[in-house]
Symmetry: C4
Subunit: 212 residues, 4 copies
């Protein structure tokens, strides 16, 4: 096969799963306005990602495009999300990552502005993550500083992951959550679980004031 082989077509089932995830996330208030971006791996060299500036609760089949793992457009006439390089970093770093979902919720935004990492301990729902079989564990979700230079932000995330720390998800300060999985479904389940846990953590921090 030539190096110049055409990238695979985007499977309609993957597009449909991302469109449905976007509708759900919008109903929950996790992708306000044009916030968020979603992708799915096509093969070892390419992915499909949402195009720039689309509302994630109202995606259609034409709101996706193909890029290579360096974020270069493979479809003419379309511009991919400004944060495409963060998706590419995850697919390059984790061969098993098949889908990446980036969302913005009030809980994750508020927590990310106050903390350098979010410590999740003792929750049954932590079993949603790879390799976790018990609630009796701790998951640390790191918070990276926001940066409009996405290439630099992606390098920072990559450097963090290369030190051996392998977060199950991460936050960008004042910006939102990045979660992933082998499939769109698995990535979506992790977003649901993390947003649930962030909401619990927000309530626990509020309750601390009562001494209750």
């Amino acid at each position: 096969m030539s190096k110049k082989a055409a990238p695979p077509k985007i499977p309609p089932a993957a597009t449909a799963a991302l469109i449905a995830a976007g509708r759900l996330f919008h109903q929950r208030g996790w992708v306000p306005a044009t916030a968020g971006n979603f992708s799915v791996r096509l093969d070892g060299k390419s992915l499909a990602v949402t195009t720039s500036g689309r509302h994630k609760g109202e995606l259609t089949e034409t709101d996706f495009m193909r890029v290579d793992l360096q974020g270069r457009a493979l479809d003419a006439g379309k511009r991919s999300s400004a944060e495409t390089l963060l998706h590419c970093q995850l697919y390059r770093h984790s061969p098993q990552a098949g889908a990446v979902l980036h969302t913005h919720s009030p809980a994750s935004t508020v927590l990310s502005r106050k903390h350098d990492s979010i410590r999740l301990a003792g929750y049954e729902l932590l079993k949603i993550f790879e390799g976790i079989q018990t609630h009796d564990t701790v998951v640390e979700v790191p918070v990276f500083e926001n940066d409009q230079d996405i290439a630099r932000l992606a390098r920072g995330v990559d450097a963090h992951m290369r030190t051996g720390r392998a977060p199950h998800a991460y936050l960008i300060r004042g910006h939102g959550l990045y979660a992933w999985g082998r499939t769109v479904e698995e990535a979506r389940h992790r977003v649901e679980a993390l947003e649930f846990l962030f909401e619990c953590e927000l309530h626990e921090r509020l309750l601390k004031a009562t001494g209750d």
Copy 2:
């Protein structure tokens, strides 16, 4: 009738009621990711329960299977929810239990992490429970420690119930709510009422800080 008589088929109306309950609970945020599990009694010896790992907001007719009251599969090729034995305990202990619903909400999760039981007093909605005719009463919802050994957890719940204390529902710490009723509808109403009451309790605890 032989002891080996085939278990009853799962009534389509029961499956439909559980599917609808799952959709509602997911809209409310009470069954994030693959959390939760649901069942309905078939007869004195068997029940139908959700299979392992399904999203409870997106159940279909094939996501249920039959097990006996010891949790043994009666349908080949399917694996029941990891928490099937907690459902079995309730059906064995309470002959009038016809349906069991297990949910995960932020309010119940947060409260269960801070308290050993949740005291609900003075609410009109308490009349949803068996034998309660007035708001002027107290209902204690016990909180059991979470345990990945579900057989042991079920024995602990059973021992608690055999001491004469007959809770109307219970929580597992950091994990969620178990509620039941004679029918799926009654069990669902109790989940709705309990989640409402837990939300009220969470707000009351937050207000305590204000001295208001």
Copy 3:
């Protein structure tokens, strides 16, 4: 016309409006389980009210029945809501009342357990009430003690109203809201406005703790 003339049939448009209100309220979490009850005036002598024990988010045309202004059934074989007499009191006291809606929200429940009346001042939304043309006003929503003797509770509400105080709505402690209007639509708008205002008030009480 004889005094024994048959009461009017329930207009299908009124039933449809109450069914739609119930669906909306359930989506918002204001009628959990079988909580709440709704009615519409038929004429000077009768009303249609929800039958006992129905889920208000899933009402159908058969879930309504006719009663007279003393709460006596006019349709055989049906039992009206346990709180029918509170509806009757409002129709007897206020000739312009055409519909009464009773809901249970977390915000109204929590506030009603802490206060003897809820003072709403300075909100643009207060203009939803009869005779109010400016935000620069105060509306007091009284809180009555809950009582399982509904006839006695209705007499208490009536006595309060006969002293010249004419509340725009009222709360029952730990129980919920009663609101009314000339039409189902107007009553529903007032429920929406009041629940909004109670939610604001709950947040304001929480903020007081911060000294912000």
Copy 4:
């Protein structure tokens, strides 16, 4: 073309976009009862605005009418929203404003009652506004005193804007949010973003109490 040329017809696509925005806002609880009002510019001399007293979650095509930039009706037999002059002010002041959306949320109402302006800093979502390319910025949303004399309120908003301060949106105390954009879609995205940010700010103020 005569000065008396008929104003343009209201484009069905604009009406449809406003109806859809209203449904979304109502689902979120941002237009309770008959609160809120929406408009779209027709040309340099006229706009279409919601008629008075309609529920914004249930708008139909007949719930809009044409007015000129001084708020005078261009369609006989209809009465425009009481706040039409606030819409007119924005279209007169900002030639690029193509749509104006006014909403009432609990978060914006509560914040507007406590502060004279809401300072939004460091959020990725601020990039939704004209000319903002980074999260590392500050947006001040001014709060104007509520006033039942809408002409006077509109003059106050106009005077504020003419001093050179060009807010991206504004609040009216105890009343709600005014946001705008070149299109209905852009205005709606800004409402979604602002409501998200107000919700974050409300949570941050609550967390301050915990010293967390």
